[in-house]
Symmetry: C2
Subunit: 458 residues, 2 copies
Amino acid sequence: MDDYEKRKLKDLVQSEMELSLKTLYAYLRLPSISAQHSAIPETVAFVCDKIESLGGETKVLDDLGGNPVIYGYFPAGEKENTGKTLLFYDHYDVQPPEPLDEWHSKPFEPYRNDGILYARGTADNKGSLIQRLSAVKILQQEGDLPCNVKFLIEGEEEIGSPSLTPYLRKYKDLFKADACIWEFGSKDAEERVNLYAGIKGSAYFELSVKSAAIDIHSSLAACIDNPAWRLVQALSSMKNQNNDILVEGFFDEIEEPGEDLKKIVHHLPFDKASYEKLFGLKRPLITEARGEDPRDALMLYPTMTICGVVSGYTGAGAKTVLPKEARAKLDCRMVPGQTGEYLYKCIKRHLERHGFSDVKVELTESQNAFRSDISDPFVQLVKTTAEEAYQTGTVLYPNSAGTGPMYLFNECLHLPIVSTGVGWADSKAHAPNESIRIKDYVDGTLHMVYLLKEFAET
Amino acid sequence: MDDYEKRKLKDLVQSEMELSLKTLYAYLRLPSISAQHSAIPETVAFVCDKIESLGGETKVLDDLGGNPVIYGYFPAGEKENTGKTLLFYDHYDVQPPEPLDEWHSKPFEPYRNDGILYARGTADNKGSLIQRLSAVKILQQEGDLPCNVKFLIEGEEEIGSPSLTPYLRKYKDLFKADACIWEFGSKDAEERVNLYAGIKGSAYFELSVKSAAIDIHSSLAACIDNPAWRLVQALSSMKNQNNDILVEGFFDEIEEPGEDLKKIVHHLPFDKASYEKLFGLKRPLITEARGEDPRDALMLYPTMTICGVVSGYTGAGAKTVLPKEARAKLDCRMVPGQTGEYLYKCIKRHLERHGFSDVKVELTESQNAFRSDISDPFVQLVKTTAEEAYQTGTVLYPNSAGTGPMYLFNECLHLPIVSTGVGWADSKAHAPNESIRIKDYVDGTLHMVYLLKEFAET
């Protein structure tokens, strides 16, 4: 691309933005919360309509259970067709909006203020999908789409993509492509575009203890067992105060990272102060107490996180009750080599060995970790086009600390995968007041336009 | 009383019951939940109206903060006046009804089925108040009220009576009496009327850990501290798997029970099978694992109970969030000698010593334990009149495992106190589907009639 063409594309992006954001607002208004089975059919219809209105082909895949998987296809224009195909992976579902009282605006009513757009799903990942569709439209307007573009848009990413495996295995020919752009990414606090050539895995567990059929007056706790104490003690046996994971075998399957990878990780930026400011942290980083490099922890080590715990009365004031049950949600971020099934066995065995066979454990979701070859030309192309479009630096991470079904994509489609998206450092994905910045939305659309253009020529 | 008089009183009770229950239904419909500041003024007005409609005098004491304390007074009739005064202690507030989805009928709409009356507050303690007022009415109808009757009806019993102390201290002359009937009691699974000559204390604590200003994506748990793990570990340091309370100094203040008391305790009935059946217990009693007598644990030992714990996402499905805070509610049932203030110091010191100075602890309520002299004639009178009215056996407990402001009453009024009430073994006080049986309601009313009659003559 010469400078004239770049400027022309930039102008086209600018003039498309009003309509693009209008489409995004309508998309954000759909409360498509997979964890709560909310608004799925209407969201599928919305997404298909948007693809078809740009002349794309759609298929709603729903023959294998779970929320439908949307296939979208835009063939390259005849003039410029190089036969290459880029696959976009997105998801139309979002995280639950709770806790609701901490939102400053309604989670499913887009609110724009001072260049920032607030709503659940703006950053993760409704903004990126509409941006990508706008990029296709702009290239159609400019002349011809320079390569084939496919979309895989699923509806269960936020609950761990439990139904995706059979769809991808059955329809792998349909989704065949040369490279894949993943669903998420953001600028960091130093305004660098962060790109990810891999992903951590995740295994999600539900733990529960039931000790009675009904809640009981707490005076009887003198002789009747308390499921909250049982759960607290069971959890406490799994991780100590120093944040060592104590579950026997937890680390056994990990593929030892090579020296090259460790070197890349140690050169990644890490700005503790920006974390502290963004999240209002009240405690030192746990890696400090452990004498570890937080970059190692984020990239190369697994985690074990209590995402939720509940028992008994949790409202205002005092209720003197002996609860009948206690429950916890546990998220283990995995690194390459680890599997949820094995961690499940480890946790179950640990609980039994430590006298907690009454604590029930269930593996509710599991996805393996994945890392692309960081030296692949596609990986580098995503990076250089980002620098051109955003006019800022980039940071290419070997893998993100977050998760998704990348392992499965590579298993079925054998392609390099890079993740990039429309977020910023304060996007608050998964938390109240999720947001994106309009300027990033515009630059990110241009990034996708440049990428499609240059990808066709590689 | 001769048999003729007893029969006459019994007939009067029977003919009053329809009206008495109608009054109770109206009282139960008021959702007077002190923990949620619900329906307090209308409930105070309702209770005063009922007392005044029987010719009683009322005073609404509200000059010292908190929910109003109601004083009710019925002077003895001129014919029979022996100058003696009996004080009834009741409360117009109830426990929160949650969890709502476990109620088979609406918690604040009385539902009568197969001789059982369901609603929040039936057993604890709205049924007993209306019963006691009916007893006064019946004795007025029969001739003259044989002794002075006073009522102290407070509105914060279910949150630990935090405002009662100044009222009782200021108005102790107003509430002066010779003996006191306390607010609760029930039949046990063997249909014996259980009476209590004392009470355990209670200290209620709120523990909280805050580690960030906002909820964070759980991938960052690799380096950011988790308040749920902190709280779980802190709690776990306070009580071990064998249910030993590990807080240093926790047992230091306890008055060693005398041999006489221990003997009485060891002769109390205890039916493990009925506990297991009533509550659907899924685990052995904790006293079994500890090789202890559950009667000792209930009567003579303190407890430490998690009444509630919450952090992060607790809804359906998975949410991969690193919570910003975690909270727990802790109820310690105390025995004579212990004070909430001292236990607070012990817990605070324990947390600091064990590396949990980030775990905030707050003492939100505290009431000392109390035991009446079990050989007092009034204590025996309550027992013998119960046997006459209910025509069943009784069990007189030196103290209940539950709690209430008895210590304070004795400190201000210096009188013997016995607790009796309208519950049955399956009343489910503090839990969903709270209930009483109509037959117990009738017999219990007769018990109060007999007691007032005989008390006047002692």
